[in-house]
């Protein structure tokens, strides 16, 4: 590594950390550690290492260098006036996490955790993944730092996100399809915990979101808060004031916490998390954990979750693999109870409408996850009117979703995506919305080769 380090950050300049969690990882009544005793020593080790490195100028300097030279930070802030016409005329700005290396915000967190893995002397990382973005990011960081990598992914998701499976394998990771339970993200997390408890001496678990046992919710937040720290400065610089509303999609909630954290002390700024409403919360087929769930314990922490009367986790449903998760990070549960953030559901249809709209008005293909935040901006913009400024976290790009979107909009035969020009525009529910998607699929294949 020959690139010069950015000036070592002065730890006194670090942004103020929220007053939560407490020393044992509790966000009010949420969070904590609900894990087998066998994992406590590893969690303690990780907590101790992280707390030391969080204020270590050498670690922070290396992390800052990677963010700048490898990820490409700071990510841009993009005004989207043509899209904003559909948001009640409010001004809409996108924080472009889709332009990060690997295509989403997930890289912010994995670089931090992979650096930490090396510092605590472990040689192997494991990760869970839903849409595949966190798996790709972890495989990327592992390749960069010479760590071996195993990614657990629900078998159902390996089918929905075959492109990301190929990416991870190209990057040298082992991808293990998980065939237990609902064969989605929650089961991948269970399997990753089983691996960790067995191989904890050599292995660090690079958790992908702000859920799980302490220290993950706080640590992942701290690695992701760069999104909001940058965006707050960028918005101030551009318009001389803070945004009125900050919006982000919420599955586990890491991109939302990432952009919310800098604004939590700004009382005048509304924070809105958009949950995956699937077919609609009233149908029971959704992943809107805070809207449609209640408090309980899942995957090592107390938070909201979707559960039945016996305390069994209910399988979630969303067109977006990355939001298809029946739990949510404990800090979101706490922000909800405090009334500091609002959580609303966005259905599959609403998200796909916003997806198509951003494609054709701005030339940006968003991840379907992020399209939930865009749909939220369309709704909230109409409520707050044309003088408002909305900041939306565009957490990822949509290349991985091209096949799902093509299928949704009825474009051709999608067992083998046809890149030809013969799209029948009559079949498209939103005219001209996604006609460039197949070309993007072709590009992606080129990128992989």
């Amino acid at each position: 590594m020959t690139a010069p380090h950015p000036p070592a950050p002065d730890v006194r300049d670090l942004p103020a950390r929220p007053a939560w969690p407490d020393a044992t990882g509790h966000f009010g009544p949420y969070g904590g550690r609900f894990v087998p005793e066998a994992l406590i020593a590893a969690l303690d080790e990780l907590t101790e290492a992280y707390e030391a490195m969080r204020v270590d100028p050498a670690f922070l300097g290396e992390f800052a260098r990677l963010q700048r030279d490898y990820t490409g930070r700071p990510s841009p802030l993009t005004d989207v006036p043509r899209f904003a016409e559909h948001c009640g005329g409010a001004r809409v700005m996108l924080k472009r996490e889709d332009l990060n290396h690997t295509g989403s915000h997930k890289i912010n967190n994995v670089l931090g955790q992979a650096l930490l893995t090396k510092r605590i002397g472990k040689s192997r990382v494991i990760a869970e993944t839903g849409a595949g973005q966190h798996g790709v990011a972890t495989a990327t960081a592992a390749a960069l730092m010479g760590l071996s990598c195993t990614v657990y992914m629900g078998e159902e998701d390996t089918r929905r996100q075959a492109l990301n499976v190929a990416r991870m394998r190209l990057l040298g990771a082992e991808v293990v399809p998980v065939t237990t339970g609902s064969r989605t993200l929650k089961d991948a997390i269970n399997e990753a915990f089983r691996d960790w408890v067995t191989n904890v001496e050599t292995t660090n678990y690079v958790f992908g979101t702000v859920a799980g046992p302490h220290p993950f919710p706080a640590m992942v937040r701290d690695f992701q808060r760069v999104i909001g720290d940058e965006a707050r400065e960028q918005v101030l610089e551009r318009i001389g004031r803070l945004p009125d509303v900050v919006l982000a999609c919420v599955g586990g909630g890491s991109n939302a916490i990432g952009i919310f954290t800098a604004f939590v002390p700004d009382d005048g700024v509304r924070l809105v998390g958009l949950e995956a409403g699937g077919d609609g919360v009233d149908t029971g087929r959704h992943a809107a954990t805070i809207t449609g769930g209640d408090p309980g314990v899942l995957h090592g922490a107390r938070s909201y979750l979707l559960q039945d009367d016996n305390g069994q986790t209910i399988e979630s449903h969303s067109i977006s693999a990355g939001l298809d998760y029946p739990g949510v990070g404990p800090e979101h549960a706490y922000l909800h109870d405090l009334g500091r953030a609002e959580y609303r559901p966005v259905t599959d249809s609403e998200a796909m409408e916003a997806f198509a709209l951003l494609c054709r008005t701005e030339g940006i293909i968003p991840a379907i996850e992020s399209a939930h935040a865009l749909a939220g901006a369309m709704q909230v913009g109409r409520e707050v009117g044309p003088d408002a400024v909305l900041l939306v976290n565009l957490s990822g790009r949509g290349d991985k979703d091209v096949e799902t979107a093509s299928r949704w909009f009825g474009l051709g035969d999608h067992e083998e995506v046809d890149p030809g020009p013969g799209l029948d525009t009559d079949q498209q529910p939103t005219e001209g919305a996604v006609s460039n998607d197949d070309a993007t699929a072709g590009q992606d294949a080129g990128e992989l080769a």
């Binding site: 044992t24 904590g32 550690r33 609900f34 894990v35 087998p36 005793e37 066998a38 994992l39 406590i40 020593a41 590893a42 237990t180 339970g181 929650k186 089961d187 269970n190 915990f193 089983r194 408890v197 067995t198 904890v200 001496e201 309980g296 314990v297 899942l298 995957h299 090592g300 559960q307 009367d309 016996n310 305390g311 069994q312 986790t313």
Partner: protein, 265 residues
Amino acid sequence: MSLLQDRISAARAEGRAALIAYLPVGYPDVDASIEAMVAAVEGGADIVEIGVPYSDPGMDGPTIQEAVDVAVRAGVGMTHVLRGVEAVAAAGAVPVVMSYWNPIERYGVDRFADDLAAAGGAGAITPDLIPDEAGPWLAATDRTGLDRVFLVAPSSTDARLASTTAACRGFVYAASTMGVTGTRASVGDAAQRLVERTRAVTDRPVCVGLGVSDGDQAAEVAGFADGVIVGSAYVRALLDGGGPAAVRALSVDLAGGVRRVGSGT
């Protein structure tokens, strides 16, 4: 007083370790699972862990997952578990519930404690609840006199061994190998080291789980522990279609093992 500790002490008075069998309620169905528990007792189990089915059993290997998944899909819940508790008590063994925390929290911690005590249960083993997070459960078990069993692991520090065992009542569950449940060819000496470290900080009985599958391994563990916990091997007997007869035969083999102290390989 502690139902679990009394039973383990009685076994010790006979110069042997206690045999603790785990079976989940609801596999292959509720009635058959309870018949299997009774068969385990008839074959010689002193204590039966009545497993509460859970959708996300993070500490269990494939064998127990497969059985529990069937029970979860069938909607098996705490009322069925309490039937199992009554049946085991009636068969003459000590029933203890084994549950991940969320099903207990969902049922209601105090309601669970009251109903479990009323059904004749000794208490509960909570594999994903550490004493640090157990405030309401400590209070409910103190109020009702139920036993509460927490786990210790080879990775536990001496300080945690001391604090965790101090919170236990009934026995201490030594999760002998780092890993999930499942049968293993060898139990290994990690178990013995963990038991020795645990005994150094507590007078409570120490029982060993994770990995024991036959009478010879049971004999080996009985050489250094107060109780031998067997789970996956019982579940395997049911998964293989052996029914109560296979469960009873396994208990007979294991019960022989815990009486052959020191003769294990």
